[in-house]
């Protein structure tokens, strides 16, 4: 089974360790992982900014890069959601591309979904001693239907306890360029999220999208919370938690 790994631009730039953790998990599940070397971005920033032409060009590039894989897996509900639920809209006037997009959409997965539902991972390499809470990222939850998979996988981590936060399905306020254009509103949403996280008393908030990670961690630190870790679910499952910087 040839699994095309879509690193995502944010993992590529901000926290490459997540990419390696994801690959480790995929390989643990028996996948042959292929990382197209020319990949950059799925085009979502352009798409959501109204720049359809650029979004389309980048989408076509992704389709070309992953056409020949059995699956496309991304450590992000947002990027996989873009490919699975929105690419079709970009090629509604191009039947040939629409067909290729449809085929790609059908084999596109968010990482935890793929691990739990397709690979049926029985054991995970990671261990953790402590309590975590899980934030459901919007696109993962509402575009990809990611809800049970990350929790099922976390339940396999020895030593880990999950304490659900209030409003775990409410947006953290990231929203791509929204976070900069409407920074004040975005920060308030992030602040609400931080309060819910802190109320659980968890040592770490775990999630599946880089955008939310940067937003939540950025707000936690500014609030003066230096101790609550913000971890990508892949890091935790793979047992590749980066050393705390503080």
């Amino acid at each position: 089974m040839r699994v095309g790994f879509f690193v995502t631009c944010l993992v590529d730039l901000m926290r490459p360790s997540i990419g390696f953790a994801a690959i480790r998990l995929l390989e643990a599940g028996g996948a042959e992982v292929y990382v197209p070397p020319t990949q950059t971005c799925c085009g979502q920033p352009a798409y959501n900014s109204g720049d359809r032409a650029d979004a389309r060009a980048l989408a076509a590039k992704v389709v070309g890069e992953f056409d020949d894989c059995d699956f496309l897996v991304a450590p992000s509900g947002s990027c996989s959601g873009m490919i699975r639920t929105h690419y079709a809209d970009l090629f509604s006037d191009d039947p040939a591309m629409a067909k290729r997009v449809e085929a790609l959409a059908a084999k596109t997965r968010e990482l935890t979904q793929f691990l739990a539902d397709d690979l049926r991972l029985a054991r995970v390499p990671g261990e953790y001693s402590g309590t975590v809470t899980y934030h459901d990222c919007c696109a993962g939850l509402r575009e990809m239907g990611v809800k049970a998979a990350p929790r099922a996988l976390l339940a396999k981590v020895p030593g880990l306890a999950l304490a659900e936060m209030a409003e775990c399905e409410t947006c953290c306020g990231f929203g791509g360029t929204f976070a900069v254009k409407f920074g004040e509103i975005s920060s308030r949403l992030a602040d609400n999220k931080c309060q819910h996280i802190e109320h659980t008393g968890a040592d770490a908030v775990v999630l599946g999208d880089l955008g939310c990670m940067l937003n939540i961690e950025g707000r936690l630190r500014r609030r003066g919370d230096a101790k609550t870790r913000v971890l990508h679910v892949a890091e935790l499952l793979a047992g590749e938690i980066p050393p705390s910087s503080t």
Binding site: R142, K181, E217
Partner: protein
């Protein structure tokens, strides 16, 4: 209504820092969200009902002209007069004409958001008549100097009961009250006199039923029943998109509307008004008028956001919107707030005056999943973003930045080189805990948040360094 949607950011800033409002918004959110959730349990197939609701609304819109003509024919046959308003100004002119014809001095109104579009109350007062709002929320706003509504179904939801008590105390000259029941009784006492002395009642219209020529009104206070049946003239005003083919359709939509709005199985009152009072009938107005309003609706119908016209005005999208929940309805600056307002306002007042509204969304799609008629709100917001981008309404630096980034992202080698430098530059700006406190060109982020710095090398660099680079593809192949 005066348009302030171009000042969205400034208004949101004020509301975010209004502690009192923040308290009211939190209370309101908790109530709406939990009540709706609880009420859905009663329906054995909520998703199926949503699908049916969507289909009914879509059927009405697909042949809107035909259904409107059928409605006109049937309403006219029952003795009502159907009038058409192309613009907000036409709405006001028609109401004043009707009032003149019937020698009206006092008008009572039940809730009508469409009449807010044309500031009808002001036009009535400017013409020398008295107008009294009878929906409790609208009444509160009216006696507070015509404060604008902040919510589709609860126009005064931004106010606490203490604020309302103080307002009644001042405006009615009565002793200060504390309980909600006492306040409601006081309002009822004031409003009852107006019902009995008014010459004309104006209502909105939740639905216009084509097959019967009826208007359907949904309220919890019963004010619409009194306002439309006691005065000798009844004028129902609503948008042309509110027409539905049959009464059976209304039954389905009514399974969705109160539950999505307030979490009620059914609203306290539901009026189906058909024609004027006939021979030997006891209830009803002697003269019945419908004003069917375009005011931009046909434009929406012909646009890429036509699905927004399916809206049945339940308010669920705003009740569940994390942005609305934190900034309240007044930030949006016009009649319709929240996600649905972010589509309708730019369409009705012009995108150039309201382009922040579709942009001010995280696209979390919480609105889309609760909408009882399945309007894909974030997709429609994106369509408007596309329009703004194509029309050159976005600032040059945003366009240039986006274009440059997309140009690079299509050239992997160059992109790899650029990002390699970029992540190092950002890394160098961070403190010893790996946080950036101030981002050049990114103060929107760093004013109230840190930016976790990149770890210093890109995935692509590291992957290649591990020997998995471009060679891997050949091996695999």
């Amino acid at each position: 209504m005066e348009i302030a949607s171009m000042h969205f950011k400034e208004r949101a800033h004020v509301k975010l820092n209004d502690e009192h409002l923040q308290y009211n918004l939190k209370k309101m959110k908790a109530k709406f969200v939990s009540k709706r959730r609880e009420s859905l349990v009663e329906l054995d197939d909520f998703e199926g009902t949503r699908e049916a609701g969507k289909a009914i609304r879509a059927r009405g819109l697909d042949d809107l002209d035909v259904w409107l003509e059928i409605f006109e024919r049937n309403a006219t046959a029952r003795g009502a007069t159907v009038l058409w308003a192309e613009t907000p100004a036409d709405v006001n002119a028609l109401v004043l004409e009707i009032a003149t014809k019937h020698d009206v001095r006092k008008i009572i109104k039940s809730k009508s958001m469409v009449s807010e579009e044309s500031a009808l109350d002001h036009a009535i007062e400017a013409d020398g008549m008295t107008v009294v709002e009878t929906d409790l929320g609208e009444y509160i706003l009216q006696i507070n100097g015509y404060e604008p509504p902040s919510h589709l179904i609860g126009p005064a939801l931004h106010k606490s009961k203490e604020e309302v008590a103080e307002l009644f105390h001042q405006k009615h000259g009565t002793p200060l009250k504390t309980g909600i029941e006492e306040l409601c009784l006081e309002a009822r006492g004031v409003l009852r006199q107006h019902y009995l002395s008014a010459d004309m009642g104006i209502s909105g219209g939740n639905f216009f039923v084509a097959e019967t020529g009826s208007v359907v009104l949904v309220t919890n206070e019963g004010n619409a029943t009194l306002a439309t049946t006691l005065p000798k003239v009844h004028v129902a005003i609503s948008g042309i998109e509110k027409v539905v083919p049959t009464l059976e359709d209304v039954a389905t939509l009514m399974r969705l509307l109160p539950r999505s709005a307030t979490g009620q199985s059914i609203s306290n009152y539901m009026d189906v008004l058909t024609g004027r009072k006939g021979e030997g009938e006891f209830h009803g107005a002697e003269h019945m008028y419908f004003i069917l309003v375009d005011s931009g609706r046909t434009g929406v119908l012909a646009s890429e956001v036509r699905e927004a016209l399916r809206c049945i005005r339940c308010g669920a999208c705003m009740n569940h919107c994390p942005v609305y929940q934190n900034i309240g309805g007044h930030s949006y600056g016009w009649v319709y707030p929240g996600p649905i307002g972010s589509i309708l306002t730019p369409m009705y007042v012009g995108l150039e005056r309201a382009q922040d509204l579709p942009a001010a969304s995280t696209m979390c799609n919480q609105c889309g999943v609760v909408c009882p008629v399945k309007i894909p709100l974030p997709d429609l917001q994106r369509k408007l973003r596309e329009k703004a981008f194509d029309a050159g309404l976005r600032p040059w630096y945003e366009r240039a930045g986006l274009k440059l980034w997309a140009w690079l992202a299509r050239r992997p080698a160059l992109y790899g080189f650029g990002t390699k430098l970029g992540v190092r530059a950002l890394r160098s700006m961070s403190d010893r805990n790996g946080m950036i406190h101030r981002l050049p060109f990114g103060s929107g982020w760093t004013d109230e948040r840190d930016m976790p710095a990149p770890s210093g090398k890109t995935f692509r660099e590291l992957y290649r360094a591990r020997g998995n680079g471009s060679a891997q593809r050949r091996e695999a192949a």
